[in-house]
Symmetry: C2
C-alpha cells in the first residue's frame, strides 16, 4: 500500500501529490510550516489524511520544543494548532484531529515539554492507526451493499492518498476486488484538479483494478446506458441531516443518480461528521485558485482576462444520499436519528468535534 | 464578427480553432482534403459551420476540375462528397449541406464543368448566408424567452466559431446583450476539448460580454444557489420527438435543470433536424481520441496505461428540452407535432435531410 504519510526519525515523510502521476516524489521535513503549506496547496489532501497530517504536524512542533520550558511549549503549540486550523476550511477531520491534540495539550499534567511531545506523537499515531482500521471496516461494510459484478462510478480520490489506510470509497472498491465481486470502475477525472485522472487512475493501476477514465460530463450518459450500478464518493463534512460537503461535482452526481434510480453512497469515517451542524447550509465552502481552471501544468487553456468561479466543494442534500457508510455502521435516512444513535453509543463521538 | 470561414480568391480561408485562444491562425487552402481533415480534427467545428465548410469544400473541388471533361468532374465530385461524409458522424448539418450540393450536381443540365463549379460555389455561399440569417433570427426569437437581467449558463461553443453567423445559443446571448437584458454568462469549460474555456470565453471576451468560466462540475451548484435563470445549448442532431444530440454534458445539464425547475433551451437551425429519425436511440455517437483526456496541450495528466471512454455527444430526451429555438419559430413539446407543422409549411425542409 502507498504510504502517503509517515513519521520517520522524528520527521514527517509525505508524498507530494501535486507531482503525481508524473513523479513519485517524497518530502521529508521537520518543519510544521512545510506540512501546513503542503495541506494548503494539496500536496497532502483528502479529508482523513489532512487530519492525520495536522496531528503529526503538532507532534513535529512539540518535538522541536523539547528543550524549552513547558509553559512556552504549551503556548507555542496553541499557535501551531491555530496555524493548521487555517489551512483548509471545509474538511472537518482537520478540526477533529486538532481537537484531539488540543485535549492532549490541555490535559497534560506532567509539566514536561518532552513528555508532552511524546504524548502528542502517540496521539497522532493513534489517529493514523484508527484511520487505517476505519478504512478496512468501511470497505467491509460498503462491499456488502454492492451486487456481484459491480460496476462503480467514483469521483475525486478517496484511496491511500486520501487517508491513513486503504481509503474510504476506494476501500469499498478494493474490498470488492478482493472478493471477486468487482467488474469495473469508471473514474471521473474530477476537474479542476484532476484528482481522478491523476490520483485515482494511478492508485487503481497500482492495485491492478480494471478502470476507465471519463470526463465528468459523461456521468449521465453512463447512467442512462445502464453502464454502472452505483456511485460511491467520499466526504469532507457531513451534517446531522445527512447533508454532505464533498468535491464539487458530487451534488451533480447525486441528482443524476437519483434521476436514473441508481444509489449514491457516501463513504466516510465518523470523524467527518460535524455534530454541531443540523444541515449543510452553513458549511464553509472553500474557493480554489482561478489558475487551476486557466492552466494545466503551466499550459494556458483560457484566454487572458477570463474570470473564474471555482468552488472546491458542493453540498449534497441527505435526501439524495442512499446511505452513509462509516466505520461504525451503514447509516440511512432519517440521518438525524442515525447520528443520534451513534452519539448515544458507548464511544461518545459528540465531544470530539470542532 | 469573427470570420471563421470565408471563400477568398478561389480558396477557402479558415481559422484553425485548435490553436485558440493562444494563437489566431488562419489557414488558406485550395485542397478539399485539407478542409476535410480540418473538420476531422476540429480545426473547423460546430454543427452549422461543418455544413458550410463541407459545402465550400465541394465548390473547391469543382473549381479544380473546371478544365476536365464534365462526366469526369461529376464522378470525381461524388467521391469528394463521400470524403466529406466520413469526417464527422453526428452533426446532421454536414449531411444536409452535402445533400444540397449533391442536388446541384445531379440537377446540372449544362454539361459544363465550369458552370457546375459556379453553381456549387453559389450554393455554398447561399448555405453560408442562410446560416447567418438563421443565427440572427434565432437570436431574436430566443431572447424573447429570457427575463430581463438574465444570467445564462452555456455549454461548449455555439458562436461565430460554430456557425456562419453570430451563433445559435450564443446569438441569443449576444442579442440579449444588445437589448441590455443580459446580466451575466457562466461558461462550462466543456471537457475534454475545453471548447467553453478556449473558444466561448475568447468570443465573449471579444464581444465585451461579461462572463465567468466554471468547471463542468459546478452546474448543479450554480442552479441550487439560484445563480442562473436558464441553460442554453446548441445541437448537433435533433430527432422528431425532440431528442437532441449535443456535446457530452448536455444531458447532464438537462437533468440538473429539470431537477432545479430551470429551463434548458436548445438553439439550432432546422438543418439540424433529422427528419428521418423518430427518436434519438439510433443517433450515431462519435467517440473521441483518448489522448484528449490523457493530455492537455501535450502535457500528460493521467498515468501511462490509463483506459479512456470518451463519447463526444450525449442524447437529451425531448421531454427535458423546454423549447427548441429555430430560425422558423420556437418549438415546444409535443415536438412530433411541431416538426410536422414545419414539414407542411410552404418551405419544405423534409426533403432536405440525409
Amino acid at each position: 500500500m502507498i504510504k502517503s504519510i509517515e513519521w520517520r526519525n522524528n520527521k514527517i515523510r509525505f508524498l507530494d501529490q501535486t507531482r503525481l502521476p508524473l513523479e513519485e516524489k517524497y518530502v521529508e521535513t521537520d518543519d510544521p510550516e512545510v506540512v501546513a503549506e503542503a495541506i494548503r496547496r494539496l500536496s497532502i489532501r483528502g479529508a482523513p489524511l489532512i487530519g492525520i497530517a495536522a496531528a503529526y504536524g503538532i507532534a513535529l512542533a512539540a518535538h522541536a520544543l523539547i528543550s524549552t520550558p513547558y509553559s512556552h511549549s504549551r503556548s507555542a503549540l496553541q499557535k501551531v494548532i491555530q496555524l493548521f486550523s487555517s489551512t483548509r476550511p471545509t474538511a472537518v477531520n482537520l478540526f477533529w484531529a486538532l481537537n484531539r491534540q488540543r485535549r492532549i495539550l490541555e490535559s497534560s499534567s506532567d509539566k514536561s515539554s518532552e513528555l508532552l511531545a511524546i504524548a502528542l506523537l502517540a496521539e497522532a499515531m493513534r489517529i493514523h492507526e484508527e484511520d487505517a482500521a476505519m478504512c478496512d471496516r468501511i470497505g467491509e461494510l460498503g462491499s456488502s451493499l454492492m451486487p456481484s459484478g459491480a460496476v462503480i462510478l467514483t469521483h475525486c480520490n478517496t484511496g491511500s492518498l486520501a487517508t491513513g489506510g486503504r481509503g474510504t470509497a476506494q476501500s469499498i472498491i478494493s474490498t470488492l476486488w478482493e472478493q471477486a465481486k468487482l467488474k469495473h470502475v469508471y473514474i471521473d477525472e474530477t476537474r479542476p484538479l484532476f484528482q481522478g485522472a491523476r490520483l485515482t487512475a494511478w492508485e487503481l493501476g497500482k492495485l491492478g483494478i480494471p478502470s476507465t477514465l471519463v470526463a465528468d460530463n459523461t456521468a449521465a450518459f453512463l447512467m442512462k446506458k445502464a453502464m454502472i450500478h452505483a456511485v460511491i464518493t467520499g466526504a469532507d463534512r457531513i451534517a446531522l441531516n445527512g447533508d454532505v460537503a464533498n468535491k464539487v461535482g458530487t451534488y451533480n452526481l447525486a441528482v443524476l443518480a437519483s434521476y436514473h434510480s441508481l444509489p449514491l453512497y457516501v463513504a466516510a469515517p465518523t470523524s467527518t461528521v460535524d455534530f454541531k451542524l443540523e444541515d449543510g447550509k452553513n458549511f464553509p465552502i472553500e474557493e480554489r485558485n482561478a489558475r487551476e481552471m486557466l492552466e494545466v501544468n503551466g499550459t494556458r487553456i483560457a484566454p487572458p482576462g477570463t474570470k473564474v468561479y471555482s468552488p472546491a466543494f458542493d453540498v449534497t442534500p441527505g435526501s439524495l444520499v442512499s446511505a452513509i457508510i462509516t466505520e461504525r455502521g451503514i447509516l440511512r435516512s432519517p440521518y438525524e436519528r442515525a447520528f443520534d444513535e451513534l452519539r448515544r453509543d458507548p464511544i461518545d463521538v459528540s465531544s470530539e468535534t470542532a
